[in-house]
């Protein structure tokens, strides 16, 4: 089997010396859409933060295309090609939409292709072109989410990690966000998607990993999960 793009090898991580993740492993193949689902507060965000280097590991290793990255700084991990669109958007509130997008292409390799990427992002998220000079803190929730995703796309990268892109949005906006995600996938991007709502990802993801209490308790294809009501009932309350 070919080397996975992202390899998470029995990592443990957490806060203040206590583990939130307990020796969990994950493989993401190039070009696939992998969803990580599970109840709130069970380590989904912690896993993404560990991969992007915001959080140090207590054990285990993480590799991108075969090269260890878990001892690198977050900026080095971004440069290696892992893009993390964090939960709650974390925009730069006093910057305009355009400045936020420009920050996405902060590293030299991305900055060199800034204009091309801006065109791509505006084509994918036309609303952002309209709002380009608006200050981020004055945007609506849906617009913010799009800036967050657009800012991530500006970096290029090899792996896109999206942390609950549907969080707190109205259903119609969630549909729009997922449409964007599917278009990105169709364009061949490798995506790791954290989601709480199983129904949203069951028919879209190549693989689904169910995270419960800091451990993966089930993994398989999306269609498979929907035919296992006992798993849904046990871990996701129906």
């Amino acid at each position: 089997m070919a080397e996975p793009l992202l390899l998470v090898d029995s990592i443990s991580a957490g806060y203040l010396g206590r583990n939130v993740l307990h020796e969990i492993s994950l493989q993401v193949e190039e070009g696939s859409l992998v969803a990580i689902i599970g109840p709130n507060g069970h380590g989904k965000t912690t896993l993404l933060r560990a991969v992007s280097g915001l959080l140090g590991l207590h054990g285990g290793r993480i590799a991108l295309a075969g090269a260890d990255i878990h001892r690198r700084r977050p900026d080095e991990i971004v440069a290696a090609g892992i893009i993390h669109v964090p939960q709650g958007d974390m925009l730069f509130p006093d910057m305009t939409v355009l400045e936020n997008l420009q920050m996405g292409a902060y590293l030299p390799a991305a900055a060199a292709r800034m204009n091309q990427r801006l065109d791509e992002v505006f084509a994918l998220l036309p609303k952002l072109a309209e709002r380009r000079s608006q200050v981020a803190s004055t945007l609506s929730g849906g617009e913010r989410r799009m800036v967050g995703i657009g800012r991530g796309l500006m970096a290029g990268g090899r792996l896109l990690m999206l942390d609950e892109p549907s969080l707190g949005l109205a259903p119609i906006l969630i549909d729009q966000i997922y449409e964007v995600i599917l278009r990105l996938r169709a364009a061949g991007r490798t995506i790791v998607l954290v989601e709480e709502n199983v129904a949203r990802v069951a028919d879209k993801a190549d693989r689904i990993h169910l995270l419960d209490n800091g451990r993966f308790v089930w993994e398989g294809a999306g269609s498979e999960l929907m035919s296992r009501p006992e798993i849904l009932a046990t871990y996701l309350g129906g």
């Binding site: 977050p74 925009l91 910057m95 902060y106 590293l107 970096a155």
Partner: protein
């Protein structure tokens, strides 16, 4: 009456511009690291002494003395980053521990200056002679020079923050540190840069303050206190708010000194701080903090 007005505006703007220069550094550092640098006043004083040492003691040109003082200020800022901020950054109570650490550094610097230059007040040689007459008011060239240099420095900082790549990184880090890291910003470099800039600005401010009064090891305390007042009024970490507030406070102090007497100038500023803290605790230009539970 108009002469009085000219006098008040001239001295208020000079003083305000000086406050602004020392406040920008303090505010930049707080905005990016969440660090209240209590050694700021000592760095400011050190800058003044370096200019004195190079110009008066070594007999070199002010064109050497001023840049050297700025460089030493920047180096001191960097040293504070390496010695105090860097080792404490990963600790839990960073804001408190770095606050205390920088008080210590300030005390060490102050005593070092006391040892090197003595307690006796020294004159700052870097001063422009002459002046101009507006109406019937004599405005010393030194005041004009201070105003011009301050405005130039503020413009320089604004261009750096708004127009350059590293400036954008500084703003991004101040607005959301983790997001900046996820964009590939190496925040350690941003912190180092910001402290070096703050030190350089403090040194300039030290030369300016001492040129209007005298050099003494503790002279930095007053401008640092004023800078804190400006920060509180503007909202900590807000640089543009700090510049506007500094100029307004300079004018207000000058007005208060004229109307109710010199000794009430400082008291007026303190009353203003109390009013602002009651009315808008996040400062005039600060963003209202939303606490999520």
């Amino acid at each position: 009456m108009s002469d009085v007005l000219i006098q008040i505006v001239a001295s208020g703007l000079t003083v305000g511009a000086m406050y602004a220069v020392s406040t920008i550094g303090l505010s930049l550092v707080y905005g990016s690291l969440g660090m209240l640098n209590m050694a700021h006043g000592a760095v400011l004083t050190f800058g003044g002494y370096i200019a004195y040492y190079i110009i008066t003691t070594l007999g070199l040109s002010p064109l050497v003395g001023a840049p050297a003082a700025v460089l030493v200020g920047a180096a001191l800022g960097l040293a504070i980053y390496v010695v105090a901020a860097l080792p404490l950054l990963r600790t839990r109570a960073f804001e408190t521990s770095v606050f205390i650490a920088t008080i210590g550094i300030g005390a060490v610097l102050e005593n070092l200056m006391l040892k090197l230059f003595g307690a006796y007040p020294l004159p700052q040689p870097l001063a422009a002679p002459g002046g101009i007459i507006v109406g019937r008011v004599h405005i010393p060239a030194q005041n004009i020079l201070i105003l011009v240099v301050s405005l130039a420095l503020m413009a320089l900082v604004a261009v750096l923050l708004q127009r350059t790549r590293i400036g954008r990184a500084v703003r991004a880090t101040a607005q959301n540190r983790e997001a900046a890291q996820l964009m590939g910003v190496r925040v350690g470099h941003v912190y180092a840069l910001v402290l070096a800039m703050s030190g350089a600005l403090a040194a300039v401010s030290g030369i300016m303050v001492s040129s209007l009064t005298t050099l003494s090891p503790t002279m930095g305390a007053d401008p640092m206190l004023k800078a804190f007042i400006v920060c509180v009024v503007a909202g900590l970490g807000n640089i543009y708010g700090a510049v506007v507030s500094a100029l307004l406070l300079g004018l207000l102090e000058a007005i208060a000194q004229y109307v109710v007497g010199v000794r009430f100038g400082f008291a007026t500023l303190l009353i203003l701080v109390i009013v602002v803290l009651i009315w808008r605790p996040y400062g005039l230009f600060g963003r209202r903090q939303v606490v999520r539970l």
